[in-house]
């Protein structure tokens, strides 16, 4: 039942390029989802014993609502003039409710301790006992910017447990939504970076492009932030007519072309480049050790992308060019995002060009030998799915009650959660004024990590 890209075996030692992606406790047993980056494999394993008594931050942060978490275990900084500079949770500069403790002796950041969970809503506990279709409403709204990734990830896991084999065209339409989401998120991040460098005119142009993508979302999916287009067993919008598909492709192509012109202006501005280059450098080894995902990891030269490592349909069927940059600085992360806008445009073109034309909302019960079905344990009561969201690898683990069909367990491992520590590491030794650029380049969202 497990597709070829997921292995189920016991891993004892975490070393080399194996990364812990998530840890969760289900049926009284600790399980870990690991990523073998070198072999592009996802591994489902019992909790590796070598972790020993170390406290996993992933477990640690599962706190109650209203309790903030410092992503740090008792670090100590000594020296003359060292003090803690509290930044946030309500301040300019940080767009959401989240904070930092900057340990500094003035200007230079010695250590950065992210404080999260100010926005904790307890989505994972709240959905327990709900019908999957009701839970979907909560899940896709827990991080508005990544809503189509969230809903697709959740629904795919649920469909897999239920054994629903849905129409290919529905999957392709979901993929289109995810790529649109990626484009507008990357535009958003780029706009924020331009704003941080006070490139106001160019930033306004980038934001205008983002707005155009949002309007395309609204036109094709009924909602600017892609809420509510997904449903269990299919999608609420589509299939698009040939004209609609052509219109979508050409609109996105125009946006990508205009964006590349604006980028050319940005990249000719020394002021902008100076702020980005050599800022917040994250070496490859640190990125691996700390479990960076998404464009942040790719900016440090790690060749990982769920679209290749966990290729659910239609990503197993189309060409995907992964963009990496080995420099690891803010510039590298930005360049990865810029190039991903172009590559997403190519992906969208392929998706819309070759979209299958089966009956979109007629799901069937899958045959047991289907190779494309998703991993399920032998009792078929829980399943997980990974989606490459705009900020990186998103994991949902879902368990349904066998009798009532309601949600019994939900575990979300958002990309922002694992990217805090790489951000913190990369900023060590930088100065305060670099903070904004580093923060924006990681594309982090508190709503995402706090959920």
């Amino acid at each position: 039942m497990i597709p070829k890209f997921v292995e189920q075996r016991q891993i004892e030692e975490i070393n080399g390029t194996i990364q812990i992606s998530s840890i969760f406790e289900i049926n009284g047993k600790s399980l870990a989802i690991l990523t073998d980056i070198e072999n592009s494999k996802t591994i489902l394993s019992d909790m590796p014993l070598s972790l020993g008594e170390h406290v996993s931050l992933l477990l640690k942060e599962q706190t109650n609502i209203g309790v903030q978490t410092d992503l740090d275990i008792g670090s100590k900084v000594e020296g003359y003039g060292v003090f803690i500079f509290p930044y946030g949770p309500v301040s300019s500069g940080i767009p959401e409710a989240g904070g930092f403790k900057l340990i500094t002796y003035g200007e230079r950041i010695v250590k950065l301790i992210p404080q999260i969970n100010f926005k904790k809503r307890g989505i994972e506990r709240r959905v327990i006992g709900m019908k999957p279709e009701d839970a979907l409403l909560l899940v896709e709204r827990s991080a508005g910017n990544f809503s189509s990734s969230y809903s697709t990830c959740f629904i795919t896991a649920v469909e897999n447990i239920l054994g629903l084999e849905i129409a290919s065209s529905a999957k392709w339409i979901r993929a289109v939504a995810i790529e649109l989401e990626r484009i507008y998120n990357h535009l958003h991040v780029f706009g924020r970076l331009g704003e941080a460098a006070s490139q106001n005119v160019a930033t306004a142009q980038v934001n205008a492009l983002k707005e155009r993508v949002l309007r395309i979302n609204a036109k094709y999916y009924g909602h600017r932030y892609l809420f509510g287009f997904n449903k269990i067993g299919g999608v609420n919008y589509g299939p698009f007519t040939t004209d609609e598909r052509k219109g979508l492709v050409s609109a996105i192509k125009v946006i990508a072309k205009e964006f590349s012109n604006i980028v050319a202006f940005f990249l000719s501005s020394r002021i902008f480049l100076d702020r980005l280059q050599e800022t917040a450098k994250l070496p490859k080894q640190d990125a691996l050790n700390l479990g960076a995902v998404g464009p942040s990891a790719r900016g440090s030269g790690i060749d990982m992308d769920d679209r290749l490592m966990y290729p659910i349909e239609p990503y197993n069927d189309i060409f995907i060019g992964i963009e990496t940059d080995k420099e690891g600085d803010t510039m590298a992360r930005t360049m990865v995002r810029i190039q991903e806008i172009a590559s997403s445009t190519v992906i969208l073109e392929q998706l819309l060009d070759r979209m299958p034309s089966d009956n979109i909302n007629k799901p069937q019960l899958s045959s047991s030998n289907s190779s494309s079905s998703l991993p399920c344990n032998s009792d078929k009561d829980f399943s997980f799915c990974r989606i490459e969201s705009p900020s990186g690898d998103l994991i949902h683990v879902v368990q349904l009650d066998a009798i009532t069909g309601r949600i019994k367990f939900l575990h979300i491992r958002p990309p922002s959660l694992v990217n805090w520590l790489p951000l913190s590491k990369s900023l060590e030794g930088n100065v305060f004024t670099d903070f904004q650029f580093a923060f924006e380049s990681f594309g982090l969202s508190y709503a995402d990590s706090d959920r």
């Binding site: 000594e78 020296g79 002796y105 230079r108 050790n289 700390l290």
Partner: protein, 675 residues
């Protein structure tokens, strides 16, 4: 006055208070004497002992030196009163004796009419200060080093002054040039240059002019010298340097172009370095000491302008520059003494000379420094209408007029030094806000820590408060009553000035009555400190009245915003500190400060998503490059003297006696031959 200082210095061993009391009497007498001479314009001379036909040991009180006596006596008066409260069981009785003796030797220096008694005063001043520095608190080894460094610089300075005076002697044939009228030294060519350069180095060493600024900050900062001693060292001891240098310069009469350039450039660099290093200093004494370097640099700049202006026969500009130098000496000495005394008191209570130290001290104790400290730092950061502003304005105005100089090189140098000086005047604001913020008012504690000890401290603080206000009114007075100081300065220079500068530059303008506007040239800028003060007070009346009287517009107070989190407690590690306040400067000006930042990761492992506790150790150092140079020099000098000690000293006693006898015979022969 002499007698009272002598008694004061002798009686110190028996009773500190009586000793300081005599110091006070002496200072008051000095003020009266100086004012009398300055206002009447008459000179007094006392010949002590005629050595030859032309030379004699003599003391004299002329308007010129009585101006410096006036400044010093104001400072001494304040310091002596302060010392009565400050000098407690922490220090031995010797301190009072040494302090008064230093004052006495300074009086000798100022009032001496001949170079020999000048040097006697100068030497005894250096030696007494050396012993005062030894009274500092802290690591005995560091203090000893600091004191000997001070002594070494003092002796080098004496050597250069002797060289300069010998040059003067060879040109005029007697020692009594100090008492004679200006332009008395008719030296020319290399000899006059010799006199000026040696005087510049000799007195510059005392003033802490770059590259000799080590002599100023290190002894004071490294020894944690008692505050009354630091005030004396930093404001009046350097004033002696100013006095000596201006004295030699005005007596030269004929000037070379490059003297002006050298003086201007050295002054400009000192001002900039002084202000920059003051900004990154974390020591309650080091910071004001560096600021002294900045201010003495400004005085040098004014003297340099005077030399250039005299060279180009711009008499009015030259006179104005000289008055600016004298004015700045006055305002700086008073403000600096005040800063040392206020900060010294707070750090005495805090028991730490570290600005970064946040030892809790009672709010009532801090409050004694609120207003005096504020006015002091405002004056030192040149805020109108206070003392420091008027003099800095005058100095900058003279530099603005560097376009009047005859050739392009002088104009460019004048302009660049003007820019540097203005920059220094801006940067010093960082240092002063830091001194006030972290040295005087912050962090503020509530009075809930009152133990018996702090109660007695509070009582003493209240009693010492008066002397801070004495300085406050002086600072205000020197600023607001600028025309009076201008008059005193021009009176003191009446022998020297070429023009009737007071009559031509202090006038009325635009409805402001005569004698209230100071012009900086004709035609150039003008400014009325008095009416600026009046204007500022008038402007303040309206908001103060509204806030006090108006019911509707009462001040609303609210809590500070801490990013949505609870307010950190006063002892929390989240408090901002003085080190962090100036770290941006350390990082930005890395090339100048040679900042070393060392972040060492001691422990901690980073594994996938799992963190174990990490430990860091942070060390940031700022380096004064000149200190490094001097350290290297010291190292070589030490090894040389060690070598000499090992090779020459263990010689035979007989040989040594023969050497001494021979030398003695040669000296006798030489003297008899000259006769």
């Amino acid at each position: 006055m002499f007698i009272s200082f002598i008694i004061g210095s002798l009686i110190g061993r028996i009773s500190k208070k009586v000793s300081y009391f005599f110091g006070i009497i002496g200072s008051v007498l000095g003020i009266v004497l100086a004012l009398l001479v300055l206002l009447t314009g008459s000179s007094l001379e006392f010949d002590l002992w005629k050595t030859t036909q032309t030379s004699s040991f003599e003391f004299f009180v002329s308007p010129f030196n009585s101006y410096f006596l006036l400044i010093s006596c104001f400072v001494w008066l304040g310091t002596c009163v302060y010392s009565i409260g400050y000098d407690d069981e922490d220090y031995t009785n010797d301190l009072s004796s040494l302090l008064i003796f230093t004052i006495l030797s300074m009086v000798v220096t100022i009032l001496s009419g001949d170079s020999i008694s000048f040097l006697v005063g100068w030497e005894s001043m250096t030696i007494a200060s050396f012993f005062m520095i030894l009274k500092g608190k802290g690591n005995a080894d560091t203090i000893r080093k600091a004191a000997f460094l001070f002594l070494a610089f003092g002796e080098v300075s004496t050597v250069f002054i002797m060289l300069s005076f010998s040059g003067i002697f060879s040109s005029i044939g007697n020692f009594n040039f100090l008492a004679s009228s200006s332009s008395a030294i008719h030296a020319s060519g290399p000899l006059s240059s010799w006199i000026l350069v040696t005087a510049l180095i000799g007195f510059g060493l005392k003033m802490g002019i770059a590259p000799f600024h080590m002599s100023e900050w290190l002894p004071i900062a490294h020894s944690n010298a008692p505050s009354n001693a630091s005030a004396l060292l930093s404001s009046t001891l350097t004033l002696m340097g100013v006095y000596g240098f201006i004295n030699v310069v005005v007596h030269l009469g004929q000037y070379e172009l490059w003297w002006g350039w050298i003086t201007l450039v050295m002054g400009g660099i000192s001002a900039l370095l002084g202000s920059l290093f003051a900004s990154v200093s974390e020591h309650t004494k080091g910071l004001p000491a560096y600021s002294t370097i900045e201010n003495n640099g400004l005085i040098f700049v004014a003297v340099g302008t005077f030399i250039l202006a005299s060279y180009y026969h711009l008499t009015l500009l030259g006179d104005f520059a000289l008055i600016a130098a004298l004015y700045h000496a006055f305002s700086h000495s008073i403000s600096k003494a005040s800063l040392f005394l206020v900060m010294g008191w707070i750090s005495k209570i805090k028991k730490s000379f570290d600005l970064n130290n946040q030892n809790p001290i009672s709010k009532t104790v801090r409050q004694v420094g609120y207003f005096p400290g504020l006015f002091t730092i405002l004056s030192l950061s040149a805020v109108p209408p206070l003392a420091g502003f008027v003099s800095e304005w005058m100095i900058l105005e003279t530099l603005f007029q560097s376009f009047r100089f005859g050739d392009i090189a002088s104009q460019i140098i004048g302009t660049i030094v003007g820019a540097i000086t203005a920059l220094a005047a801006g940067i010093i604001i960082i240092a002063m806000t830091k001194a006030y913020g972290f040295g005087i008012i912050w962090p503020e504690m509530k009075d809930d820590l009152e133990t018996k000890e702090t109660k007695s401290k509070i009582e003493r603080s209240k009693s010492i408060k008066g002397i801070f206000y004495y300085f406050l009114f002086l600072i205000l007075g020197i600023g607001v009553a600028a025309p009076v100081i201008f008059l005193l300065a021009s009176n003191s220079l009446s022998q020297i000035l070429h023009t009737k500068v007071f009559d031509s530059l202090v006038t009325g303008l635009l409805g402001i009555p005569t004698y209230f506007v100071i012009l900086s040239g004709k035609p150039f800028g003008g400014f009325s400190p008095t009416f600026t003060a009046v204007f500022m007070v008038c402007l303040m009346i309206v908001p103060v009245a509204i806030s006090r009287l108006g019911d509707k517009w009462r001040i609303r107070r609210t809590f500070g915003w801490f990013g949505g989190q609870t307010q950190p407690s006063a002892t929390s590690s989240e408090l901002y500190n003085s080190f962090s306040y100036s770290t941006p400067l350390r990082i930005m000006l890395k090339f100048l400060f040679k900042t070393k930042e060392k972040i060492v990761e001691i422990g901690g492992v980073r594994r996938p998503i799992i963190l174990s506790p990490e430990e860091y150790f942070v060390e940031v150092e700022v380096l004064d490059v000149f200190k490094q140079i001097y350290d290297t020099l010291t190292k070589y000098a030490l090894s040389l003297s060690f070598y000499t000690a090992m090779t020459v000293m263990p010689g035979r006693l007989g040989l040594y006696l023969i050497y001494i006898m021979t030398a003695f015979i040669f000296v006798i022969l030489y003297i008899s031959l000259i006769k």
